[in-house]
């Protein structure tokens, strides 16, 4: 289920498209456009706001044949999509931070009524203190609501993942909503080279949505979401969890299929970078993984046998894949752009540790917290992190959790 990354490699792929420059919000909007979404609803919030403007413009220009519902809140944006998805529409929205917090009620309900909605999260830290900047805390806080959550590294991956997300969400083995989480500002406002896949190849990859599990249709009357007691409720939950587990295979398969058509793949649930002979490793998620690649390259140049594992799917959590990828390393450093309240760590760190339970001779794990509130995860911070992981691998004294950038104080 794990493949090495094959980015921008195969020009033989049929899905080679036009190359242009766009920010992450526009890349997400293009993903929705190319997926031929039919009903959109979104409410502007920093740093997602330009996305709402781009989508509005697409509709105004006639490039996107969809209904854009200019809602009064995020609560309503997702609610509009509920009604539309239940009628059989392909739908899209995106939000961030406080907007996601306001959306919490319909957000929790989206996977539990099995709606294959795709929603971008331009990640943002939670208040307070007042802050509009990056951090993954908003998406992280709702990781257990039952959605599939995919984190991406750059703008190309935003666009591609939105398209793939529909294929995953609408898959009959899955029928669950997908979050495409892209770092607020770092990706949402980063202008980057992006290739726009040709519409006809996207159409071939992603056929129209035809719901078979439920529909609100006067010609086919159905009650959606009646009061559901006891064991029947438990059965629903059980099947939901089973679907999330099945989604692992689907995410990997969809990625492979995408790669074969468009010449770009992302590894499915995780991506391994320079892991073949690695003795230590960095595990990361989201846009900081990009900087980590360069940091790992530099450490390799200095002779360190280091690799990198990028977590794309936070939910479902790629437990077996991570265990397999990190089987041969002595120490792992986990870079969290979030905190796990109550544990004094980051969330990815905690979950990786849980994944390693029962594994014979697991690697040592050290945690790093950085990038909160938009603080910059610099090359120097990565160098420091790698040194600590190295210390841990060599049995030297080290902190379990390091808040990079706060160390000097």
């Amino acid at each position: 289920m794990v493949t090495e990354q094959v980015k921008h490699t195969s020009n033989a792929a049929r899905g080679v498209g036009k190359v242009t420059v766009m920010d992450g919000n526009k890349a997400a909007a293009y993903g929705a456009l190319l997926s031929r979404v039919q009903v959109l609803a979104a409410y502007p919030i920093t740093p997602q706001t330009p996305l709402v403007e781009y989508l509005s413009q697409f509709v105004a220009d006639g490039a996107l044949k969809a209904d854009f519902v200019e809602v009064e809140s995020e609560h309503s944006s997702l609610s509009v999509l509920h009604g539309a998805s239940l009628a059989g529409a392909r739908t899209f929205t995106a939000t961030s931070g406080q907007g996601l917090a306001l959306m919490y009620e319909p957000y929790n309900r989206t996977p539990t009524i099995r709606l294959p909605i795709v929603m971008g999260i331009a990640t943002r830290d939670g208040i307070s203190p007042q802050c509009v900047w990056g951090g993954h805390q908003d998406a992280i806080n709702v990781r257990d609501a039952g959605w599939i959550q995919l984190f991406v590294e750059d703008n190309q991956e935003i666009l591609d993942t939105v398209i793939m997300a529909y294929k995953i969400a609408e898959h009959p083995d899955v029928l669950l909503p997908v979050n495409v989480c892209y770092d607020g500002f770092y990706l949402s406002h980063m202008a980057d080279r992006v290739e726009i896949p040709p519409q006809e190849i996207v159409d071939e990859f992603l056929p129209p949505y035809r719901p078979t599990h439920q529909i609100l249709d006067p010609d086919n009357p159905m009650s959606i979401d009646p009061l559901t007691p006891n064991e029947l409720f438990m059965e629903y939950r059980y099947k939901h969890l089973q679907a999330l587990q099945r989604a692992k295979q689907v995410i990997a398969d969809v990625d492979q299929e995408f790669a074969s058509l468009f010449g770009r793949g992302y590894g499915g649930l995780i991506e391994k970078y320079r892991m073949d002979d690695a003795e230590i490793a960095i595990v990361g998620i989201g846009s900081p993984v990009g900087t980590a690649r360069v940091a790992v390259d530099r450490a390799r140049d200095e002779g360190k046998k280091i690799g990198l594992v990028k977590v794309r799917a936070l939910r479902p959590f790629p437990r077996e894949e991570l265990v397999e990828a990190l089987r041969n390393v002595r120490s792992v450093g986990v870079m969290d752009k979030n905190v796990c309240f109550g544990w004094g760590t980051g969330v990815l760190f905690m979950e990786l540790r849980s994944a390693m339970l029962g594994v014979p001779k697991p690697p040592a794990t050290v945690g790093f917290i950085d990038g909160l509130g938009g603080s910059d995860i610099t090359m120097e911070h990565y160098a420091r992190a790698i040194a600590i992981v190295d210390d841990s691998a060599n049995g030297l004294a080290h902190q379990e959790i390091t808040w990079l950038g706060l160390e000097e104080e």
Binding site: W133, E153, H189, D192, R193, T291, M379
Partner: protein, 190 residues
Amino acid sequence: MKEIRLHGRGGQGAVIASQILVNAFVIEGKYGNSMPFFGFERRGAPLSAFVRFDDRPIREKTQVYSPDCVIVVDPTLRSAVKVFDGLKGERIAVLNDRKAIDQIDLPESMPESVNKVGIVDATKIAIECIGVPITNTSMLGAFAATTGWVKLDSIVRSFELFLNPKLLEGNVKAARAAYEAVQVRELVTL
């Protein structure tokens, strides 16, 4: 990989200039990305934007701390912000200044970190060509001439993607004028 830092004030279009620059590199088959420094965007407030370009995909997602070149869109910023901090490599500064290069004490008035300056009265050019003192496109013309890292034509072609069509003509004129007018001097022979 080369790194560029733009300094401007809110409303002068420095962020758009950074995106135009990325597009110009991409037109030439290179990879590039840019991000603004994330603060509150207010008219007149100092802001910066960061550009990287290379022949290979850009992986870094951080601010630029050690630029190969700084572009200072607003002449008043040099006294307010440490615009020359961290210069490395060719250490180029592209500056907007009313004074001609002969009227500036060089190299004395520049910090040691600067190796090469390009000076242009972008404000005057912008007012003549566009009618408003928005100097971002003029400064891109000056940048192309000073560094030689990108063709003026690639910059001008990129305007379409980011500028209001009604403003295209004036901005193209401004970029070309600045490209011609910029005065370049090497301060130290490397």
